[in-house]
């Protein structure tokens, strides 16, 4: 009987899933035992048949292993990773949770202030949206997955980032400004100066980059002391971060005492990100021949 059943599989044994499913069905019914010995009824080339049987046996082994070993039905869920492992406060982040035992209508919990909407899932992965409230606690949030088999480990975390600083990353370029150039920039008559393009990065209090595109950053300049260059006003603006959380900033200064003066003007550069003030204020030191941001 078993031989007849296998013969019916024909050439499809080696490659198609229907044949494997047939053997799988036989396996469940306890009918596979006789396969290796059932060769008597097969008149086709013996070598090819033996190869086919070996192949089917291998596939059967894999199926049996996966059914018994990895267990989708009787095992508690386990989280092995969360990607990305962090997200910005006040916005929604798409998150992928990897692990095992997620089959069977899992629910995801990410702690206070994070509303989770589960998307697609399979036994090893869950797609979810983490809507982080603007008053959610900053820092680590333990994430768990719960199924009918229980609740997962809670040692994997999602870190809620609160913007803290606009950190200097690198210089793009720097040049002196002539009187003619300062005139076009709105400098007082006869003034000259300096300009510098730099890249800044939005970071949280743990100095981790907030890698999200489109965060609105906005600055404000407030002259402090000393103010040897007589800075009375300045232009500021807004821009959006790129996907690395960065943006260019073009600093410039024009003063009637430049280029000759060795004096300096200290200016506090305060920031908002998506309308909320950052904890860190940059100190920008303007001189006739240099501009430094927080000492860089």
């Amino acid at each position: 009987m078993e031989s007849a059943a296998l013969s019916a599989g024909g050439a499809g044994w080696l490659s198609n899933l229907v044949s494997v499913a047939t053997v799988d069905n036989l396996l469940h019914k306890g009918q596979v035992k006789g396969v290796s010995g059932g060769s008597a009824g097969i008149s086709a080339d013996w070598t090819a048949f033996r190869y086919s049987l070996n192949h089917i046996t291998d596939e059967c082994d894999e199926i049996v292993t996966s059914k018994r070993g990895n267990g989708t039905d009787n095992v508690k869920p386990k989280i092995t990773s969360i990607s990305p492992p962090r997200g910005l406060i006040g916005v929604t982040t798409s998150v992928s949770i990897s692990g095992s035992g997620f089959g069977g209508n899992p629910t995801v919990n990410a702690g206070t202030g994070i509303t989770v909407t589960r998307g697609t899932f399979n036994d090893t992965q869950i797609q979810a949206s983490f809507a982080v409230a603007s008053n959610a606690p900053a820092g680590n949030h333990n994430v768990t997955v719960t199924t009918a088999q229980g609740t997962s480990n809670s040692d994997k975390v999602f870190y809620v980032q609160v913007p803290y600083s606009a950190t200097f990353i690198s210089q793009i370029s720097a040049t002196t400004l002539s009187q003619a150039q300062c005139s076009t920039l709105g400098g007082p008559p006869g003034s000259a100066g300096y300009q510098r393009w730099v890249t800044l990065e939005l970071r949280d209090s743990a100095s981790q980059a907030i890698q999200r595109s489109g965060v609105t950053v906005d600055d404000q300049l407030t002259p402090s002391t000393p103010n040897d260059l007589g800075i009375g006003s300045g232009t500021t603006g807004s821009t959006g971060t790129d996907s690395a959380g960065r943006w260019p900033d073009h600093f410039y200064v024009c003063s009637t005492v430049c280029p000759g003066s060795t004096g300096q003007s200290n200016v506090n550069q305060s920031w908002t990100a998506n309308g909320t003030g950052l904890g860190h204020v940059n100190v920008v030191i303007y001189k006739c021949n240099s501009i430094t941001v927080d000492g860089h």
Binding site: I172, S173, S178, A180, Q181, S183, T184, L185, G186, G187, P188, P189, S191, G193, W197, S213, G214, T216, V217, D218, D219, L221, P223, D228, L229, G230, I231, G232, S233, G234, T235, T236, G237, S238, T239, G240, D242, S243, W247, P248, D249, H250, F251, Y252, V253, C254, S255, T256, V257, C258, S265, V267, Q269, N274, G275, V284, Y286
Partner: protein, 262 residues
């Protein structure tokens, strides 16, 4: 002697042929040019699905290298996604298809720039875009955003409020955020141009940017501290601008002080 006889006919031949060659070359160039109006520029396919009106327009600008000037953009219109799928079409038809999905928008082409407007926009003294500048200069090549966000407002401000002579030390300092330093424009020395014409000239130099007015129509007669317009470069890292621009626009539109930022 032989050399002379050869040279004279060649010389006269060149004299005779030069005007013809010049006009022929001009004719050839005219024939080879695409249709003069940017609106007639042909597009094989244009597809946007579920984008805001702004992102759809920017997609068109980026895809077809069409500079844009958006004089009117109601932030409420950024929240509603639109879809456009056109084949064998033109820039003008795409603009029309995008704008038709929202009420009250108009469009026209000026200086090679597609301008998006509204019938209710003020003009003349009540709109700074119409302000005539005796001169606008960049004094060399400079980054596009430096020209649009720093030089133009500074030079406009000089005409609106001429600086008073001061004694002693005086200076200005600033920090202009955003922009790509590789997008260099100029040098420009323009005379008797409106602010709108300067903006058009700047964004059309590389056909890779759009200027967007941030203030509502009633507030176009003043220059806010943080600028009246924002320039979006098509090669910026972001490819969707609605969220960012929506935040900016809402700040200006909700401000009772005429667009002065909080």
């Amino acid at each position: 002697m032989r050399q002379i006889t050869l040279r004279i006919p060649v010389f006269f031949l060149m004299l005779l042929l030069c005007p013809w060659a010049k006009s022929h070359s001009l004719q050839q160039r005219q024939l080879a040019d695409p249709p003069t109006g940017i609106a007639e520029k042909r597009i094989r396919a244009f597809d946007v699905e579920g984008l805001s009106m702004l992102d759809a327009l920017l997609r068109l600008g980026r895809q077809e290298q069409v500079p844009l000037g958006i004089e009117y953009l109601d932030p409420r219109d950024l929240d509603k996604p639109i879809s456009v799928h056109l084949r064998g079409t033109s820039v003008g038809a795409v603009v029309k298809a995008i704008l038709n999905q929202r009420a009250g928008y108009t469009w026209r082409v000026e200086n090679g720039v597609v301008l998006i407007g509204h019938p209710g926009l003020p003009s003349g003294d009540r709109n700074l875009l119409d302000r005539l500048l005796p001169e606008f200069s960049t004094s060399g090549r400079t980054a596009l955003v430096t020209a649009t966000n720093l030089m133009l407002p500074a030079q406009l401000q000089r005409y609106l409020n001429p600086p008073k002579p001061t004694s002693g030390v005086s200076g200005v300092a600033g920090s202009v955020l955003g922009g790509r330093i590789e997008n260099q424009v100029g040098p420009l020395h323009l005379r008797n141009v409106t602010v709108r014409q300067v903006l058009n000239r700047l964004v059309s130099e590389h056909k890779n940017a759009a200027w967007v007015i941030l203030a509502p129509p009633a507030h176009l007669d003043r220059l806010p501290e943080k600028g009246l317009w924002y320039v979006i470069e098509y090669n910026a890292p972001q490819n969707q601008w609605s969220e960012f621009m929506g935040t900016l626009l809402r700040e200006y539109w909700s401000s009772e002080s005429g667009g002065k930022r909080k």
